[in-house]
Symmetry: C2
Subunit: 409 residues, 2 copies
């Protein structure tokens, strides 16, 4: 007997018919003898609709109240899914995040799961019922319900799977799996059968929004096998595995091209270079949990320094609000920003140990006439910041350069 946690995203639940199709799939898994826990997102555009309703009331609604509002989306889909399963003759119970034992640090709007108390889930499974858990939420302080970061029913699913010591976690979504590049911009992108946790993490961070990075981190930490697959087909999808499961020749290659259009650059210009400068700029951003990336500090004329970094476009306004007073305080000349940039990256666990890969990347972009604004690297990734208009072409060029246009293992 296998215990599986299945997570279904919003597009897989957008209509009654799709909920029914998902319920049929769950029914089949149960008939095959598997035990299941199910995690669901809000139906279709529900979260966007609720966010819009709040936005018409207030430009900045209190985060606590937003969480009360947004959490209802997942409760509705959990209840409808549970009803549909019952209609198919399967005992099922819809559970809120708190009821499913999901405890968090209580931070409204971006809570982190601290612990899952699996007693209720185990009790339901033991009794032959399917717990249908509202994703994206958990218990905060004072009995408040809090939401996790946007789109992170994935995180709920992976954490529930870990807490239940499940055999695997299946993330059902509207794509067939993880591809060598986004098929919308690279037409010959290939589906990967296997991907290593670290690669998936980089892909997720770089805008391949199939699975949330935090969910990948947790899966990796607990070596939980995860399968990303389509709820609209029976194809196998992509399995996320440990490095040891990948053949050595496969590793020494670029495995995928990632891109991200959601990039804004902020530059603090003309500050006198002294210790603690970067900390003064970045500390208030860290306090507000704004992720910064691609930090460049270069000395300009007259011993003055420019500090440049990227954030997601969503965070740009808040970032500027926080950085401008600091810039004034440290005697900077001014603060400028641009949203006309994007990122393109090559990803692969063997990149660092394979010579010449960086040179091939920069060379092929140069041949295509694409200017590189700045570069960052990690052990398994090289990222170039380029003009937003060049991102799609850069992805196509790199996909060909690194031999990804043909089917691979």
């Amino acid at each position: 007997m296998t215990l599986i946690v299945q997570k279904f995203g919003g597009s897989s639940l957008a209509t009654r018919e799709r909920i029914r199709a998902v319920a049929d799939r769950i029914h089949d898994s149960l008939s095959a003898g598997d035990k299941l826990a199910v995690v669901v997102s809000a139906m279709g555009d529900t979260t966007d609709d609720l966010t819009e309703a709040a936005g018409r009331i207030s430009a900045r609604p209190p985060e606590r109240e937003m969480d009360v509002l947004l959490s209802t989306g997942e409760l509705v889909s959990a209840a409808l899914m549970s009803m549909t399963l019952n209609e198919l003759g399967r005992d099922a119970v819809a559970l809120s995040g708190p009821q499913a034992g999901i405890r968090t640090d209580g931070r409204f709007g971006r809570a982190r799961i601290t612990e899952i108390i699996p007693a209720r889930l185990l009790q339901e499974i033991e009794a032959g019922r399917v717990p249908v858990v509202a994703g994206f939420q958990g218990l905060g302080l004072d009995g408040d319900l809090v939401t996790l970061a946007r789109g992170t029913s994935d995180t709920s699913a992976v954490a529930v799977a870990v807490a239940l010591a499940a055999d695997k976690c299946e993330i059902y979504t509207d794509v067939e799996g993880i591809f060598t590049a986004d098929p919308r911009i690279v037409s010959c992108a290939q589906k990967l059968d296997l991907i290593v946790y670290e690669e998936m993490l980089e892909m997720a961070k770089l805008g391949a929004r199939v699975m949330h990075p935090r969910a990948v981190e947790i899966a990796e930490h607990f070596s939980l096998p995860v399968m990303v697959r389509s709820s609209f087909s029976d194809n196998a999808g992509t399995e996320i595995v440990d490095e040891s499961a990948i053949q050595i020749e496969t590793m020494q290659r670029v495995r995928a091209i990632a891109h991200d259009m959601d990039v804004a650059r902020v530059t603090v210009r003309g500050v006198s270079d002294r210790p603690g400068l970067a900390n003064a700029v970045f500390e208030p951003l860290a306090t507000r949990h704004i992720n910064i990336d691609v930090i460049v500090q270069n000395v300009s004329d007259g011993g003055k320094t420019d500090i440049s970094f990227t954030v997601s476009e969503n965070d740009l306004d808040t970032t500027l609000d926080l950085v401008r007073p600091v810039a004034a305080e440290i005697g900077a000349h001014d603060v400028v920003s641009s949203a006309q940039l994007g990122k393109v990256s090559i990803v692969g666990v063997g990149i660092q140990s394979t010579p010449g890969i960086a040179a091939r990347m920069f060379g092929s972009l140069a041949s295509a006439g694409i200017n590189i604004v700045s570069i960052t690297t990690s052990e398994i990734r090289i990222t170039c910041l380029v003009d937003k208009n060049d991102v799609a072409q850069a992805a196509v060029v790199l996909h060909t350069e690194f031999g990804l246009d043909e089917p691979t293992k």
Copy 2:
């Protein structure tokens, strides 16, 4: 300083503009120095829409899952109201029924409040915040959220007011108060300034759906002053008070005409009369919490008895499902039903002690050519079961007969 619980119904919250108007009203009450707790229903037709969505999935969705689904309606309106108050500069927090300390007997779909633990509500009020409580819900067993009977955010509001030892409870709705009859069928119906708890209770039971009977019962039990008023005007509404607050000459009169179209009659025909017969028929209905009314048992030819009673139309199918096997078991001839009936009633705390009132009621209906199918009475009410098509005319006739067409005190 006065502590008031204000409850706003679904039609008062149907749009963003109405939520804003209600928030302005709350703002004014706070500016006047009152302390407030607010209870809200779901916006407009939300509950109907959710019920319909469930109905498309299953003819009889599990009650537990229905409760998860329906409870989201009130959470949404509580969150939006709280945001709107915050936007007006008032600290407010949306609370679910369980968070507000509302404990119930855990019966899905028709839970009764057993206790309110007011700690959280008091803490919020003390801290200068307005708790906005999702009505119609409370904590059941196993941490489950349960809904109270349909439309009973009133009950939440009254119970919260009692638990907080509030000075009064204001029920805001889409009508100006309690009228001497339903203005939609009796055009010269007059608004009452005062009504006695018992009268209000009879009116509520008889289909004047301004306030739920259970809420009236609780208010009466704890002598909580309740004001029913319109959220669309500043008019005073109707105050629900103790009998002692009413002048003696006002009491010895018919105070209002109530009617109810939601009536179905079930007749078990041709059973041999013996002790325990009525119990055999009614016990399974009581177990399912189906309210029965206007019970008539009469002996027909050959020593056989017919037992006839009314239920609400909603409960007719379930009632027939429950009664048919019992009828077969006790050797009844058959079971027949009719939904072509309605009730018309005269209500007033002085009715019983005022001679001739019943005779005037029956006489005026006879003069109007309206046939009375059966009659029931309580201390403060006389109800006639008549053909559904005669209900409106009967109300008009009785309204005139008992001198209610002119403004009164």
